[in-house]
């Protein structure tokens, strides 16, 4: 039950931490890493769509947990 006037914190879509926009700072950092790495993957393979990229990243064993969770969420959109 929330008290009237009390600011209700928005939770991250992927965990119960407070969200900065829709994600917490950890998952946001994961999203940034995904966006930074994408051009390198495109360059490496020639043609690679965003969804295909996300699919490959989330299956990669080196991908960090928060980046993986974020990739999964973005792939589902």
């Amino acid at each position: 039950m929330s008290v009237e006037g009390e600011a209700k914190s928005v939770k991250c879509l992927l965990c119960s931490r407070d969200a900065v926009s829709e994600l917490c700072r950890y998952h946001l950092q994961g999203k940034e890493s995904l966006e930074t790495a994408y051009p390198h993957w495109v360059k490496a393979y020639g043609i690679l769509g965003w969804k295909d990229y996300l699919d490959r990243v989330k299956r990669n064993v080196q991908t960090g947990q928060w980046a993986k969770e974020t990739a999964e969420m973005l792939a589902g959109r």
Partner: protein, 694 residues
């Protein structure tokens, strides 16, 4: 002991740090004639040495501890503190009877000798006993200084016992304890109270002066790892044939960034002729290592045996108390000639496993390799040359061998390794092969099993030799994330950042594990560990960073050196702690909410076992029966009809193994708490169990 008089009214009371040291000191000075008796349950040795009546007693670590005068354990901030007998601070510390015994013995003493370990902790222990239990004798007591417990060193130490001077180490030690208490008690109570405020049961959430920055190192690395996205690249290797022989060489560029370029190189090299365009041979001299300080020993023991730093410290201390090695809590990587190299080697030559090497070294000049680490109180860790009276336990035996072999190797000549670098060209493309092997062992003869150096025989290739390209392979690779710290690498980071002391770093790392901030050998940070650092960074930023801690360490070092400035340091600590606490107190509710989330998440993570193999949709969790209070496995989809459940052992801690059973796909768990942890498939109908039953 200068100034010794034939007989005074009272005896000389010698205060040692540990009972084993008291026994060793008594044996050494009395030629084994000292007899032990007990005073209030404390063993005491009495004998005559140099015409003087000596009574040797001992502490058992710290007999006094810093605390606050309040009964209520939730009060904070606290800046009012005093030294109390340890068992008034911590129940069961067992200091009370020992303090009473020393107090009684001090009444009949006319002279006092501090024979505690010669480092900050030992000085603090001795100072406090002489001050509080002996009635203010901390200034007039003499100091016996020794680095090994051999008879020779102990006799010299007592013969040369002298006035204690400014007692910088004791002052710095007392200041360190007081400062750490002020930090620890206030921050931990602020955090624990905040967590309590959110309606949870009490749980200690602590953060200390060195603990904060150390945990922050782990958290920063954890964030890098968990947000890491690898980038692909390709590695090329070529196989080249000549006659029946084959050579494998790596492409000159370690990483090819595009698949198309990797394919291009491959096709350009296919079926071509290759030429050895350069063959370079170089000889490298590998100098002997420097002797161990405690950090080096802890890291090497972790690398060689997987021993945790705290375990290495325990084993080294045991070896010191058995007079087999010198005092281990040293920062020195240097061995002065006064160490008595020849005497030690003669002693080691009496041990079958080292006799050949020790005798060989005794025939030459004894000049050890020296490192840059220094320590005013003790030399680098070295064997004493004494024979073990009993066979050391396994960890102790390993550490003893490591210390002896390291000591021997410091006297050896440099090892010589020959490396061959072959460059093979295929048109414009170049491949390289490097091989190295030891051609002269030098110091490696004593340390080979721990050196980690590997030999790879060089191929017989001359410049201009021609080969057929058998194949060129391109393998897809990915960047690797940074490795998590392990206990040894974290210790190294703490050393290089100059936080903590050689005596305390291993214990601080163990506390991080005990508090549930990190898990496993790879020290994976838990949600709670992440939350504690997040909170600190948000509301009391200096607590999580190294600057404030390092500044305090620098000031403590100055106190140690000059013996003054401790009161000023205490004042500035109280001032900065007050500032940090204000941030936490003002945001107590928010801090509590964040901790609550982390504590719930940590508990939740332990209860979550894995996906339900029955409904394929829910998750299996550890659930407690409301009626019987017993734990069992149940599915989160129970309300929707999934009846997957399984019994669990009622004793021990259940931890998720992280993999599914190979026979039935149900989750595997580790059950811990008995003699050794065991792994269990939670499915009672698992086919593997049916086979066992049959």
């Amino acid at each position: 002991m200068p100034g010794r008089t034939p007989r005074q009214a009272g005896y000389t009371l010698v205060v040692c740090e540990k009972p084993d040291v008291a026994r060793r000191v008594s044996e050494a000075l009395s030629d084994g004639s000292a007899t032990g008796s007990t005073v209030d349950g404390t063993t005491v040795f009495r004998f005559v040495w140099g015409g003087e009546q000596l009574v040797v007693c001992s502490a058992q670590g710290h007999l006094y501890a810093v605390s606050d005068p309040f009964e209520e354990r939730t009060v904070y901030p606290i800046f009012d503190l005093e030294w109390y007998p340890s068992d008034l601070v911590e129940a069961g510390a067992g200091a009370g009877r020992r303090v009473a015994a020393i107090r009684k013995l001090a009444e009949g003493a006319s002279k006092f000798v501090n024979a505690c370990d010669l480092d900050v902790e030992g000085e603090t222990i001795g100072y406090n006993i002489l001050r509080y239990a002996c009635g203010g004798k901390e200034e007039e007591a003499l100091r016996a200084k020794f680095s090994t417990l051999t008879k020779e060193d102990l006799v010299t130490a007592f013969r040369e016992a002298a006035s204690q001077g400014a007692q910088g180490m004791a002052r710095a030690g007392r200041a360190r304890h007081a400062i750490d208490f002020v930090w620890g008690i206030n921050l931990s109570r602020a955090l624990s109270q905040s967590a309590l405020g959110s309606g949870r049961r009490f749980r200690t959430v602590s953060i200390g002066r060195v603990q904060g920055p150390s945990l922050n190192f782990l958290v920063e690395r954890e964030r890098e790892i968990r947000t890491f996205v690898p980038v692909p690249f390709w590695k090329l290797s070529g196989t080249f044939g000549r006659g029946g022989a084959k050579l494998v060489a790596e492409y000159s560029r370690e990483r090819i960034l595009t698949k198309s370029e990797a394919e291009e190189v491959k096709s350009e090299c296919a079926d071509r002729e290759a030429i050895a365009t350069k063959v370079a041979k170089i000889t490298v001299l590998v100098p002997p290592p420097s002797p161990f300080n405690i950090g080096d020993l802890q890291r090497e023991a972790y690398r060689a045996f997987g021993l945790l730093p705290v375990r290495t410290m325990q084993a080294a201390e045991k070896l010191y108390l058995d007079a087999l090695i010198s005092y281990p809590r040293t920062g020195s990587q240097r061995l002065p000639p006064s160490t008595g190299f020849a005497r030690i080697l003669r002693g080691l030559s009496g041990l079958p496993q080292y006799s050949v090497e020790a005798n060989e070294l005794l025939r030459g000049e004894l000049r050890p390799a020296q490192g840059t680490g220094t320590d005013l109180a003790h030399p680098a860790i070295h064997p004493t040359g004494e024979k073990p009276r009993r066979a050391p336990q396994s960890a102790e035996a390993s550490i003893f061998d490591l210390v002896v072999r390291r000591f021997l190797s410091t006297f050896g000549p440099p090892a010589r390794r020959e490396a061959v670098r072959v460059e093979i060209s295929v048109g414009a493309h170049k491949f390289t092969l490097v091989a190295a092997r030891t051609v002269f062992l030098g110091w490696l003869a004593y340390y080979r099993k721990y050196s980690g150096l590997k030999d790879l025989d060089a191929p017989r290739v001359e410049e201009g030799d021609r080969f057929k390209v058998a194949k060129v392979e391109a393998s897809e690779s990915f960047d690797q994330p940074q490795r998590r710290y392990n206990q040894a690498t974290l210790l190294g980071r703490m050393e290089s950042e100059r936080i903590g002391t050689k005596a305390t770093r291993a214990d601080i790392i163990s506390t991080l594990v005990e508090r549930g901030y990190v898990e496993g050998q790879s020290m994976e940070v838990t949600d709670l560990g992440l939350a504690v650092i997040e909170i600190m960074k948000k509301y009391a930023p200096p607590i999580a960073t190294t600057e404030l801690t390092r500044k305090t360490e620098g000031e403590l070092e100055a106190v140690e050196e000059d013996g003054i400035g401790d009161a000023d340091l205490m004042r500035s600590t109280i001032r900065s702690m007050s500032e940090q606490l204000l941030g936490l107190i003002a945001n107590e509710e928010e801090v509590g909410r964040e901790l609550d989330r982390a504590l719930t998440s940590s508990a939740g993570a332990q209860d979550f076992l894995g996906p339900c193999p029955v409904c394929k949709d829910g998750t299996l969790r550890v659930v407690r029966s409301v009626r019987t209070k017993k734990r069992f496995v149940g599915c989160s989809n129970y309300p929707s009809g999934c009846r997957a459940s399984a019994p669990l052992p009622q004793r021990g801690t259940i931890k998720v193994a992280g993999n599914a059973c190979a026979h039935c796909s149900w989750p595997m768990v580790h059950v811990m708490g008995g003699r050794r942890p065991w792994k269990l498939c939670v499915n009672p109908s698992c086919p593997s169990k049916a086979r066992r039953r049959a």
